[in-house]
Symmetry: C2
Subunit: 641 residues, 2 copies
């Protein structure tokens, strides 16, 4: 049963956790990131992203701009695009003339950096116009264009303003010419434009964009490998080009319909799979959808952390092999979990199965949120499940695994990605088709359906387990609400009357069909009992260890609460216990306690003496709140004693 996500502006998060997060993004994150993009915050990693665009515009107007005036990554433009997209979503929550002005000025500048033929990319315009479209493997022109297309669609949908949409339509037309007529074997090195073209198609109705997205999906990985040939012929590299080209890195070893394992750069992978799932949906391509299901299984059944993190190594920011899930040298990039949410949502739009939403929720409430400090001013790129200061961030094998969040990154893909995900949460929380309105995630606020009713949700999620929806308006229709797999005992009521879940639940969703009336209520009570979680015996890193999950939240032990974490063990058979909600702790959390013990350390590396253990109650906090109280040891998986 197919569906569409709702437009971002159909949902207004006026209460609860998501409302608070969106307010943080509006009031703190977006102004902060705008200042960074404009190099207005001294003493932190320089962005130069907007200045690059200005330089490109000035060069097109004839000013003498030196190539080395460009600063930053080949994909520096995309930081601006993601910021515009996030700002667009923020504007859906209410007017903000200052923000809108900042966006409009940025769009105007960007438009001025567009070439006559529609080409737009500050890196190539400033640095090397002669090299445009010659390095499709690494140079990210299509990636940057894709992100700006997403921004354009978002800004148009929220504000009705067409300027950026027109710029990016012209850009898409240019890309169409290049890749449908001239260089027809090429496809993006970093997938993104596929999913963006599908959004542009939806916003503009221009079938060429869907055709181009499908083309990119179809030609990917055809033999002989395009990237290998391109590299042989092009004679220049963006990155140090001495290493042999790894086609897995770009998911181009095989045509996509033959790919069975999620491989290579994790963000590229899930962005690609999202585009594939969208093309499959909109072209009724069952073979392509089957490939998406295989790749989904590869990720979620064999290559995903309990936190919804993906990518086991910093070497290529990549997936490795099945069941290789180290907790300390993990990558689990914030962007990769955001991309996993994209993929999950697009699979949901293909077929409404709770497992997609379960994973989407797992990724969001654990890895994605952990990507940002609680005050919105510092960000993780890498999200480890085990941190030991002195090793993490220090050992060459752990150098990407920082024990605290930096303010910004030279490669700053993650921070604005979190911003756009949080502020567009509504479109991940709800979907709709002709028959049914779907509640995929729980978020306080009001959502407008296409069916003549609105639902206002009050919820204490994710710290509490109740979500109550009050209906406004009247319609005979179906509302389907997800019953999360982690909730062992769920209670659903309609106007206070208990619904027999067995009778109405299919694939993780309870379907309630009725003539909804003004004032009707639909209330879900989920089982928030904290549980000990065991990993598959195939995951070597988790042998003999457990972790604790409560609702959607994975918990962890931090040194600041427990002393050094490394000697801590969970007592065999111990049951975790949720404490009362602590509004003042870490922005408001429900801590969990579990009986444990601490191993008294020996002063030799190895000993035959049985170590002494002292009883100790371990205090656990939600993983997304870790590293908000300074550098300290942290562990999600704890050994059992």
């Amino acid at each position: 049963m197919k569906s569409e996500r709702i437009p971002v502006k159909s949902f207004s998060a006026d209460n609860g956790f998501i409302g608070k997060m969106q307010k943080l993004v509006r009031e703190e994150v977006l102004p902060y990131q705008y200042n960074i993009l404009n190099d207005a915050i001294p003493g932190i990693e320089k962005s130069h992203a907007i200045e690059n665009i200005r330089l490109a515009a000035e060069k097109l107007r004839g000013k003498d701009v030196k190539p080395d005036e460009f600063y930053g990554m080949v994909f520096q433009d995309s930081d601006v695009a993601k910021w515009i997209e996030a700002a667009a979503y923020a504007l859906a929550a209410g007017e903000d003339p200052e923000l809108e002005k900042a966006v409009d000025e940025t769009i105007q500048l960007y438009g001025a950096s567009q070439h006559e033929d529609g080409y737009v990319d500050s890196y190539f315009t400033v640095k090397c116009p002669d090299k445009m479209w010659t390095n499709i493997c690494d140079a990210h022109e299509l990636y940057c264009a894709g992100h700006m297309m997403e921004a354009a669609v978002a800004y148009y949908e929220v504000t009705g303003k067409r300027e950026l949409l027109d710029i990016m339509s012209k850009s898409a037309d240019c890309i169409y010419e290049q890749f449908m007529k001239k260089n027809t074997r090429a496809y993006p090195g970093h997938p993104e434009v596929e999913l963006a073209l599908m959004r542009l198609w939806r916003a503009t109705g221009n079938e060429k964009y869907k055709e181009l997205a499908k083309h990119f999906v179809d030609v990917r990985g055809q033999a002989p490998n395009y990237f290998v040939e391109e590299k042989k012929n092009r004679g220049w590299n963006v990155w140090d080009g001495t290493e042999e080209l790894n086609t897995d890195y770009t998911q181009s070893t095989l045509p996509v319909r033959e790919q069975k394992d999620a491989v290579g750069h994790a963000v590229r992978a899930v962005y690609l799979y999202t585009g594939m799932a969208d093309v499959a949906k909109e072209t009724q391509d069952e073979t392509l959808l089957a490939a998406c299901r295989n790749l989904w299984e590869s990720i979620t059944k064999r290559r995903m952390y309990i936190t919804g993190g993906i990518g086991s190594t910093f070497m290529g920011e990549a997936f490795t092999v099945d069941y290789d899930l180290p907790n300390d040298t993990v990558y689990a990039e914030t962007c990769a979990s955001i991309g996993l949410m994209f993929f999950a949502k697009k699979m949901l739009e293909n077929e409404h199965r709770g497992e997609y939403a379960d994973v989407m929720e797992r990724a969001f409430y654990n890895t994605v949120l952990a990507g940002m400090q609680l005050d919105g001013k510092r960000f993780f790129y890498v999200n480890p499940l085990e941190v030991v200061p002195g090793i993490s961030g220090k050992a060459v094998t752990h150098r990407a695994v920082l024990p605290t969040r930096p303010q910004w990154y030279a490669c700053a893909c993650c921070p604005p990605n979190v911003a756009r995900m949080v502020s567009s949460f509504g479109s991940y929380a709800y979907s709709e088709n002709e028959d049914t309105f779907f509640i995929d995630l729980y978020a306080g606020g009001t959502v407008k359906t296409e069916k003549g009713i609105t639902l206002t949700c009050e919820t204490d999620f994710p710290h509490g387990g109740t979500a109550k929806y009050t209906i406004k308006g009247e319609a005979e229709t179906t509302v389907a609400i997800r019953i999360p797999a982690w909730s062992e005992k769920s209670l659903l009521t309609v106007n206070g009357e208990v619904v027999d879940l067995n009778a109405v639940t299919k694939d993780g969703y309870a379907y309630i069909t009725r003539a909804w009336k003004d004032g009707d209520t639909l209330a879900l009570t989920m089982d928030m009992t904290p549980h000990v979680v065991y990993a598959s015996a195939k995951i070597a890193a988790d042998s003999g260890k457990v972790c604790v999950q409560r609702g959607a939240l994975v918990y962890c032990a931090e040194e600041v609460d427990n002393g050094k974490v490394l000697p801590l063990y969970v007592k065999a058979g111990a049951e975790p216990k949720a404490l009362d909600f602590e509004p003042e702790t870490l922005g408001g959390i429900v801590p969990v306690e579990i009986a444990g013990c601490a191993q008294q350390d020996i002063d030799t590396l190895y000993s035959t003496k049985v170590p002494k253990f002292v009883e100790k109650t371990i205090r656990l906090i939600p993983y997304y709140t870790w590293a908000n109280r300074g550098e300290n040891q942290m562990r999600v998986w704890l050994p059992v004693k």
Copy 2:
């Protein structure tokens, strides 16, 4: 109390485990490796090492040799050197005209490749004579010379033949000119020549060689860093030179006397420390010895595997930071444990403390022996403590961790290093000074002391715990025998009478002073009870896990004995039990059993269901025998349930 190791030829291993290993090296390993060095075994990794030397010799005789006729590593010569050294030791065990002829021919060829001024190195002679001595950081000229000096000393000591000793004295004179007069700030990028020069000094009595060794130790790491300056100025690289030079890699960040942590490339580190310890000993340099003690502690108290493996990562084949000891992505290069034995023995020669010999024994009987297949025909470079086929050798992070031994390597440093270590075992097993004859390791065979007595040892070590020494000759002197730290209850008798160990033991050695007479016996019975071993709580990788050690041998569980190892747990409180010696198993071993259980796997990655366990007796084998029965799962540290 200082001492000297005994000459290799003073010990003849005519029985027991070491005798069997030395016979294997003589009869299988040396002929096999000679054939490889001569490219006479088709279908395996090409060596070309002897052909390179032939090409260099021909070029010096005026033949037109093309630079690209050289094949292999910049240090390819060193494989030949180590093979000659091992062959020399093998000749100490008895005449072998064929082997001796092969050595003599190789030496003659090598001599013909020496330049007028003493310079000798096939890489530079064939490929780029204009670049001699311009890349001291990476080009291994001093490393190759050092290895050939060791070979020269060994061959001279065993056979009395001076030809190679003269060649290498001339080479050392050339090096002296270059580094004591011309380029006085330089020192070896890969330490080795320091320890070799000390050996050459001992063999020739030429004080210049000791002076040069001391010079290399003294100038190392002086500011400004020589290697950084050299790289800036030289304009060519042996390796891909785009990365910034890491001075830790070459132990050159600080002057050696200020170095506190063992860092960088592990083999370089321990070769350097060996040279330092030797210079400290022979120049009565207490500051240098103190630095050696610090570095020893850094390795053995914080950076060493239970197997005596060192080097936690393939990234730079290097040490990382304290307590970072992953079992699956470990490096633990065979050569590094051999180098650790060098360092341990040299520390023993400085001061007889049992801990040095304990570590030497741990490294030998676990990592060094694991480096070679039981038939002597395949070799490990990397010695992991946990192997899962499908991940090990496959995931990019585990690519160096092979699940089975290859026949040969492009970088073939380890195989001939094992050969020379095994065949020179006697000089590691015994030391001597004016007052005392030291028994550092247990090996069946006869050893001649400088005191007028010989000792004949009968022992079932390492599988059994008895070592009985029968004296021949007469002398009033002290024999000191090491009481290993792992032996909780040891029994020492002289002529059947029990010695009060408390009264005679100091720093791990029991000192027996008496007028030894023909037929006297000294017998040590060690405690071979297998024990469960616990790791420091600071080692994250071993949290909640134990391993089993029996005597000097660390044990491991293999899939071939137990089924898949990953679901295996040791039962809490279980005592390991040694089985009877099995002469037909893996060359003869004492297997150990321990009560355990196997976790029944779940079909999801993560689950809140308590997994089921089935009781299971786990069969363990000595670590050095692993991977002799095909590719399979292996684990040293097992979780406890």
